[in-house]
Symmetry: C2
Amino acid sequence: MTDPKQGPHTHLPFDATFRATFRDLVLWRRDVRRFRTDPVPEKLLDDLIELATHAPSVGFSQPWRFVKVKSTERRRAVWENFAAANAKALENYDGQQRATYAGLKLAGLKEAPIHLAVFSDESSITGSGLGRQTMPETVRYSVVAAIQTLWLAARAEGLGMGWVSILDPAAVTRILDVPSGWTLVAYLDLGWPAEEHLDPELERHHWEARHYTGDLVFER
Amino acid sequence: MTDPKQGPHTHLPFDATFRATFRDLVLWRRDVRRFRTDPVPEKLLDDLIELATHAPSVGFSQPWRFVKVKSTERRRAVWENFAAANAKALENYDGQQRATYAGLKLAGLKEAPIHLAVFSDESSITGSGLGRQTMPETVRYSVVAAIQTLWLAARAEGLGMGWVSILDPAAVTRILDVPSGWTLVAYLDLGWPAEEHLDPELERHHWEARHYTGDLVFER
């Protein structure tokens, strides 16, 4: 056991094997849109949410609010909102790009057993405003950190997750009838994936290519 | 080896031991503000950034831009910007809360060997706008997902990271002289932590308490 003040590595069990597997986890996390319809245990979902609440939050504000969308009517209304927004988005593309867009599967809302909406409670006084006076957007960013934590934790359980951003956030907020002061950060679907892929759907279908990391790093 | 279409668990090596250690990683990740001053290998930082670029991004837009802030003058200017914003923030608190705030260490910018500014390139056409027409904020959210990935990966290496949000983002953007169209998402400092803690600084110093997860989960 190494004294954490003496060496770069801590006494915690994050060894080379763990780090290599963590890398695999990050690489194999996917935005899943093809789900099997068999159910996910409620306890598993609750455990994943609990772990996600250990994400960082500005001023320890813990602004994340998780809404399990179980009503058939509400789930259908959200799906219809997505379908309308997706049809409208298609209008922005022409020619080959339009054909490619039309062939992409961009959400699995119909099949996924779990719909989970994640909000930021902008009205909460938890944290007493610490750290967010000059960058108030960090409240919503905290919720995103929880979502990425949930995503990785779900993947480690073999569970797939998708983030559906092709929808009208104001309409979805109304559909879900949440307290005023809550901002929709993400609408997620979860379930057991029907396929496993190492490459993103949009890369596989030649919508977009991966950047070389060196092109994304600068010095000042 | 299980067929991924037959069972909840994939053929990937995310077993119970890995999942338990991943949980430890999430729990032991901290916003570190107390750094040792000894250097961090450049190769290690580059590897962490590379892994972070495997975070999800809306429409595979990969909008993250990482700026290593190496100039002594620029680092000092950012620290001065933080100090001014922090002094101003203190004015918002009274009595015991003011005394508590004044006693908190909210950034390690002076000691940390690495300053890393992370921007969102809002002008990039990568991804051709897919997924971000109704929720354009998902571009910046993608950058946050990369930051949380970097944070966990750094922690697995024993490295500490802090997110400094107490600064004027417009001023810091000017100090760093980056292309127009870039939005500052986070100013990070990294280094070997001088201490290890399981509880957040703000919880330890009684600024804020942890919520019970059940209070953060709702059904609709």
